[in-house]
């Protein structure tokens, strides 16, 4: 069996006013090499907790996370090292996800160093230059610090850093939502290219249906700690079955004034009807 599998994950936190708040209530998902899975969820859906558990940064209450047949939360030694090498993450905020005290060379080369892939400094430098070229940056970028780069460029650096250790699975936590609109497409396309070129498996977490529909083969819709709908992207979004998915689809902005205004008028009618029936 290959890839990353999450099975029946449950996680709760102590809640305000006593008791515990269940954030994940039995979530299962699976990403294989070369596959791109979208995870749609609003804030509070539990997607961040899911990512933290899946990456082994946090222990779930129950359920398991397997990578290549070994249980991530009990893995030690070579198994853990393999997981730490083959599963990487790209974060949402490119201004917080790169250590401001490290040069681009150190940032991109860190994985090569800690996994002893390229212990020689000169060879590491050559690798970094090649990686930077692959994500569309000049090689001389390596001598500068992250603060010298724009948001889109930083996200490219973050991707190069993750790709340095030749991962098989890349978890992307809202990787474009903090970027300028005109830059988002560049990063989305870069991820799509890397996936087909390297056979990467991608777990793409987002709240934006458009991006997931563009990039992913299959999708899971997460609401209040449960997967409410899943399936091939076009099946789910072409004919959503669950009310929640439909509500999300209806709330997504439509870049067509006639259609958008018709929808707005309809909503307004519904609100007035509701207002009229209330008293």
């Amino acid at each position: 069996m290959t890839g990353l599998a999450v099975t029946d994950l449950c996680k709760s936190y102590p809640a305000a006013g006593g008791g515990r708040r269940e954030v994940l209530k039995g979530v299962s998902l699976r990403i294989d090499k070369g596959e791109c899975v979208g995870l749609i969820g609003e804030s509070g859906s539990g997607k961040s907790t899911l990512i933290r558990c899946a990456l082994g940064l946090e222990k779930p209450d129950s359920g398991r996370v397997d990578y290549e047949g070994s249980f991530v939360h009990e893995a030690t030694g070579p198994d853990l090292l393999l997981f730490r090498r083959e599963v990487q993450i790209v974060f949402q905020d490119p201004f917080a996800s790169l250590n401001p005290r490290m040069t681009v060379e150190e940032l991109v080369g860190e994985g090569l160093l800690v996994h002893r892939i390229e212990p020689s400094r000169a060879r590491r430098r050559a690798c970094v230059a090649e990686l930077l070229g692959r994500v569309g940056l000049e090689a001389d970028a390596m001598h500068r610090y992250p603060r010298a780069f724009s948001g889109g460029q930083r996200q490219r650096i973050a991707i190069a850093r993750a790709l340095a250790v030749s991962p098989r699975i890349l978890v992307c936590d809202e990787p474009v939502s903090a970027l300028d609109v005109s830059v988002q497409a560049q990063v989305i396309n870069l991820l799509a290219d890397m996936r087909s070129a390297l056979g990467l498996g991608i777990l793409f977490v987002a709240h934006d249906i458009g991006v997931v529909r563009y990039l992913c083969d299959s999708v899971l819709v997460l609401a209040e700690g449960r997967v409410v709908e899943e399936g091939p992207t076009e099946t789910v979004f072409g004919d959503p079955q669950h009310d929640y998915t439909r509500a999300l689809m209806a709330a997504a902005p439509v870049p067509d004034p006639a259609e958008a205004k018709a929808r707005r008028a309809l909503r307004r009618q519904q609100r007035e009807a509701a207002r009229g029936s209330e008293p």
Partner: protein
């Protein structure tokens, strides 16, 4: 008839080191009574600066040009006249609804404060605050008005912020990225709320956003801003159906759609420039796929085109040919 708001040759400079840095460089637009105008732009475009300049919120800025609101010259107002204008002439909603509220004051008092400043008695101000909170959909407004901001959810806080902007009966509502931090469903609720409130009161609205998508269903007219200037302006239908500026075209094409499958997104190369490093000529020229030699040299003027106007050498040349 005179428009409600008229902005002419607006320039804004921010202090930088010993000198000044121009962040808004000659912006013209107007908003009629009851009209919805969207100002769309990315980071560094100067859109929020423009919004804040309308109410002169930042003392440190140097603002040039003319801003006429309801026939009065805003830039010539004294500080006392400005205070009277803020809130009762122009109401404003800010980006982050949590950060827009004073965490140490009860929400009812924060709404009522707008009226108390204007000499309304305590009881009446409070009653009117509760009434507008109820109107904007805060349940149990009378008792909830005694709660503090942190006791409200994101969508509810945005209602409080909107109540603050509307309670003194302004003629123009300026909404600066009011939905940016919110989920799509809440975002839609907030926009609908502004929609209803503006329709009921016949308010003019200036919606500042980076998200072209939310504009389609909301605005009558769209202004597209890039690096301190307006590059295109027109009725919303025309902007989406026949964008004339390559930047507007790129923006619309680069956003993946939720309602249909797209094969390949055509990206815009590069990144929006910071005001400190604005390119020569047309600021968009380094990223423009249809750049002409002249674009590097001189900045294009905003010229009428179709039902709107566009600032582009190529569009002007095509117009001249036709």
């Amino acid at each position: 008839m005179k428009p409600l708001l008229e902005v002419r040759a607006l320039t804004i400079d921010v202090p930088k080191g010993e000198g000044w840095m121009r962040v808004v460089d000659g912006v013209d637009f107007s908003i009629g009574a009851g009209e919805r105008v969207a100002l769309v732009g990315e980071s560094g475009s100067g859109k929020s600066m423009t919004a804040r300049a309308l109410m002169r919120l930042d003392d440190a800025l140097r603002i040039g040009g003319a801003i006429r609101f309801a026939g009065e010259e805003v830039l010539g107002c004294t500080e006392a006249e400005m205070r009277a204008l803020r809130g009762s002439g122009i109401g404003m909603v800010f980006q982050d609804p949590m950060a827009s509220l004073d965490p140490f004051m009860r929400v009812g008092d924060q709404v009522a404060e707008v009226l108390r400043i204007r000499g309304v008695g305590r009881a009446e101000a409070h009653a009117r605050a509760v009434a507008i909170l109820a109107e904007l959909g805060v349940r149990d407004a009378a008792s909830r008005s005694g709660a503090y901001p942190h006791e409200f959810s994101g969508g509810m806080r945005q209602r409080v912020v909107l109540a603050m902007a509307l309670v003194a009966g302004p003629k123009l509502l300026v909404a600066d990225e009011p939905t940016t931090a919110l989920d799509a469903r809440i975002q839609q609720q907030v926009l609908d709320l502004i929609d209803d409130a503006a329709a009921d009161r016949g308010l003019g609205v200036l919606l500042i956003t980076h998200n072209l998508g939310i504009v389609a269903g909301f605005a009558d007219r769209v202004l597209v801003m890039y690096s301190g200037r307006i590059v295109e302006e027109g009725p919303v239908e025309q902007i989406f159906a026949a964008p004339a500026h390559p930047y507007t075209r790129g923006l619309i094409a680069a956003v993946p759609r939720a309602d249909m499958r797209v094969d390949r997104l055509p990206p815009i190369d590069g990144a929006p420039p910071s005001p400190a490093r604005r390119p020569s000529g047309c600021a968009f020229h380094p990223r423009c796929p249809v750049r002409l030699p002249v674009c590097v040299m001189t900045a294009p003027q905003l010229r009428p085109s179709g039902g709107g106007s566009v600032a582009c050498h190529l569009a002007a040349a095509e117009e001249a040919m036709a």
